[in-house]
Symmetry: C2
Subunit: 380 residues, 2 copies
């Protein structure tokens, strides 16, 4: 029987740091529960000794940090797997159902990290595609939902002539009867291409492709064939594994912008869910996003300056061979905060241009130019 | 220009009820923000009048309910789309990023609901497959992770001989080197089939197929070919749309058990996320799960009796032509709570048998038989 039940494990372990609410005693009990819930999820008595010894989560560190306790728990890498489904399952599958437990960091050994491709382009590759190396990038947004493909293409043209580096669909644009995906992509690519020929400045278009996987992939292929240059996808709607599937797809070579729709629930409570540095930093970088969008601090969303610092660092920190990912400054971001954001993020950040640019007294084009100048675009 | 920007909408609207934290004034402001964030996500000045009038969310009701305010907000059905990606985007995409806002109900007009297939089998269809009509169903669990396929098959045999109706993989079983998916499915189906020939009682096996979609579907096909009889999938890991894709797949005819891994984050905070009745009731039923697993009240998870009543009702309430879905009594559920659960859920519930059955003094088989007797299985 022992031969049959014995598991063979490499002995290599990865670890997750959890912040836990409660007294020292409660937090210790919760940490022990995480070690069980995330692995065998059963009482000791039914678990063969070998499984207990090797499979169960191990509390490697436990200490008070601020108002909460932090427990670093290690697990066999065999549970981590090589895709985002197994990864999320192994770090937080069952423990997400408990109150007062938050994932705050993942530590993955280098040799295990090597099976993760991460961003195909990363920030250096995206810069090369656009041809801008010495300043933050700026991304315009096609909105509001309800405009026809023609009206959106007109807007895209103005944004591109205004000099932005990227243009993304608003996340509410999917494939509605009043604005079909294919027509929108075709018209917007044409309009942006026309603007590029006039200005000599490249601009990538990221249509929103979130859908069931077959449809999502079909839309990505359509975007690539049309010459869009990038795609926008929501891991909260399609799964992080959907992002990874796009990033490793041999037939696709498009930078991926991740959008935080529906992910907020993971981050709005500061004592549960997945900390912003993991949710908007480590996870999308591992999955292969080249740019991750999230609401910035100071624009009315429950995200703090420290959270954004954590995301920024998770995007850039040397991490195996994974390329760095762009953090973003998003969420109704106006001209008034450009300097602050540049000093906070440095050059390697993508500004998501708020719709305020559509209200500029001299028009959209002038609004874009003013913003581009503020981020350091040279006169052209 | 107006011709180009004018949207053509059916005029039909669906609505979402949100519970909002704060003073009346704050809650009203938050409701107005939901109406904007979930649609145009832009200030009034840039929105053409026609879009403002038809696309923007409309606050249909606003009232105080307990400690929070509730706002019912309607949206054009064109945003709802026909898949779970557009649906989740339109009910909570951006608003999930705000604090203190919780989705508590979706109301979808019947003619719109008609495009949703929902559960392929539902509770009546699942009962027919098993041949049990007059008592709750019982589902055994293959655990802990770390056991070999052979050891799990041995456990499956004992559970099946003990008379359970369904056997599911523990969610931690994926496709690890020490227990490969295909080998597990083959061996467990064989063991359960052998037990069925001995007892004359049918038992379905639900292997865990969560993975990237291509792999997930391949595993579902493998499970079907092997004769497993059902599948287990985690919408929190693979997306609700993944569940729908399985439920509508013309080549698959397998009942779907949904598992709550990673969904906890949506429900652990009672003032944010998605209320349990929607998350574990309306959403999986719409997506097409036949059984939805979630932690029961009173077993140490942050879920209340009222939450479970809400799920139970959402599973069964007449809802267009959608078949009813099975609620479950899960989470280390022992014999001691069978009577309470039967009176709470009635007959149409699936008991997820805790690992306590593995500790029965007379062995697993006897443990199962005692439990089956408690739920009303006739002597055989």
């Amino acid at each position: 029987m022992m031969d049959e039940t014995m598991l063979s494990l490499s002995g290599v372990r990865f670890s997750v740091r959890y912040a836990i609410v409660g007294s020292e005693c409660e937090a210790q009990a919760a940490a022990r529960l995480v070690a069980i819930d995330q692995t065998v999820e059963a009482p000791d008595e039914i678990i063969p000794a070998a499984i207990c010894e090797h499979m169960l989560g191990r509390i490697e560190e436990f200490e008070k940090q601020g108002a909460r306790y932090q427990a670093t728990i290690s697990f066999p890498v065999e549970l981590l797997g090589t895709d985002c489904v197994a990864l999320l399952l192994s770090i937080f599958g069952i423990s997400s159902l408990r109150a007062g437990i938050q994932v705050i960091e993942m530590t993955i050994p280098e040799r295990v990290l090597a099976v993760w491709q991460g961003p195909r382009f990363g920030s250096p590759g995206l810069r090369e595609r656009i041809g801008v190396f010495d300043r933050p990038l700026v991304c315009g947004v096609l909105k509001p939902v309800g405009l026809s493909a023609t009206a959106l293409a007109n807007l895209a043209y103005q944004l591109a002539v205004g000099g932005v580096d990227l243009i993304k669909d608003d996340q509410a644009l999917v494939d509605q009867a009043f604005c079909r995906f294919e027509e929108r992509v075709t018209r917007c690519v044409e309009a942006i291409g026309r603007a590029a020929r006039e200005t000599g400045h490249r601009c990538l278009y990221a249509p929103h492709i979130s859908a069931g996987w077959d449809t999502m992939r079909r839309r990505a292929v359509c975007a690539q064939s049309a010459g869009a240059g990038a795609v926008l996808v929501c891991p909260g709607l399609c799964s992080f594994e959907a992002v990874r599937s796009l990033a490793v797809d041999p037939d696709l070579r498009l930078p991926i912008l991740g959008h935080p729709a529906l992910l907020g629930t993971y981050s709005v409570t500061a004592t549960a869910g997945i900390a912003p540095s993991v949710l908007f930093g480590q996870l999308p970088r591992l999955a292969g996003a080249d740019v991750m969008i999230y609401p910035n601090y100071g624009v009315g969303f429950p995200i703090e300056r420290d959270d954004c610092a954590g995301i920024r660092d998770a995007c850039r920190r040397p991490w195996g061979d994974l390329k760095p990912m762009f953090p973003t400054a998003a969420g109704r971001m106006g001209m008034d905060r450009v300097e602050e954001m540049r000093s906070f993020y440095g050059q390697d950040v993508v500004f998501i241009l708020g719709s305020s640019v559509q209200r500029h007294p001299q028009g959209i084009r002038a609004g874009c130019r003013a913003f581009m100048k503020a981020v350091g675009q040279k006169d052209r």
